[in-house]
Symmetry: C2
Subunit: 195 residues, 2 copies
Amino acid sequence: MNEAVVLTSERILEVTEDVLRRYGLAKATVVDVARALDVSHGSVYRHFPSKASLREAVAKRWLERVSAPLAQIAAEPGPAPVKLERWLRELFDAKHKRVCEDPEMFATYLTLAREACTVVKAHKQDLIAQVEGIITEGVAQGAFDVADPKTAAAAIFDATRSFHHPAHADEWADCTCSTRVDAVLTLLLRGLAAR
Amino acid sequence: MNEAVVLTSERILEVTEDVLRRYGLAKATVVDVARALDVSHGSVYRHFPSKASLREAVAKRWLERVSAPLAQIAAEPGPAPVKLERWLRELFDAKHKRVCEDPEMFATYLTLAREACTVVKAHKQDLIAQVEGIITEGVAQGAFDVADPKTAAAAIFDATRSFHHPAHADEWADCTCSTRVDAVLTLLLRGLAAR
DNA sequence: GCGCTGACAGATTTCAATATCTGTCAGCGC
DNA sequence: GCGCTGACAGATATTGAAATCTGTCAGCGC
């Protein structure tokens, strides 16, 4: 198991994800992580000052895996309305896929995210900033008409919570969900559009 | 305590709410309710087949107290856009007030509502039907332009979840909340408006 | 007859003893 | 010196026995 590999924070995080996957959030202990790494649990505390900070780091990795592909979409050229819709649908798809493919892991992520609320807030700010960028672009293109892109971005984020906030995950399997997504997106894009 | 009053379902519900308020959801037992009513707990089971059904009935009462004033607004005459905004703000205010004034009771209500999901679904359907009514009116007035009022009503409901779904209650105290409400309402009303 | 009582069985919760975990640190070995 | 170990104290979780609760029902009293 050990492979004589140096013990880096990165390696600890990878193994921690494995342990979380195998044991579940409630039962996964620092001792389990250390055992999987074939070191004493004291060594883990050399890289992370507490169990909470280790969990936070795991949460951060997960959230970065969500925002990275979105940032890519936000950076592409093209008409803002199309891009915004693509961006939002990508966000919803990413979340929906996660909960469908591995609901147990999603529950773990959800609890973890609740704890690491600083990290989650930063993630939200990051996503809203991306939306703001797209909206600003849309205003420049003459496609959108909004007073304040920052406020509008927050509003878009708030108005789509049903489809990206984990609290509503139990509705995502519903067959009417895709219709509801369409309806909300239509409404919001009409609301942003210059006339 | 007893007052020799006949034991009706209504009286049981009132006292049950008292007991919930005093003991909290987790600790309130059917025996507590019976004791407060000065009867044996067997008598309570004459009116409600189970503890779950008693809780469900309490939840139903609570939800009816939310929807009744809204139904009144929906029934009033006047321009649909104004009415819709008033209706939504009334919904948000009702919820926000509850959570601010008595957060503990709100937590009780929240857990109860999770259990009584049939009752909650019916409540949601009721609210969406009210919105649908307002939208249909707005279309008739020429103020709104929507393909399908039912779908649009559901979309309005989905898009305002941040401000009425209890899962987001912890954000309602935030000072930016009122700005965010304004932003979302502006966006949605623009989205519905005929041009 | 009709509604209430109170004892009962099985399910659930509580509580305290026990075990495990978190976070620290002196000291070992490379 | 530097990083790791493993023993330790205090905090947290687990466990199983005892207490309480849910839901039923035969029988009492109006």
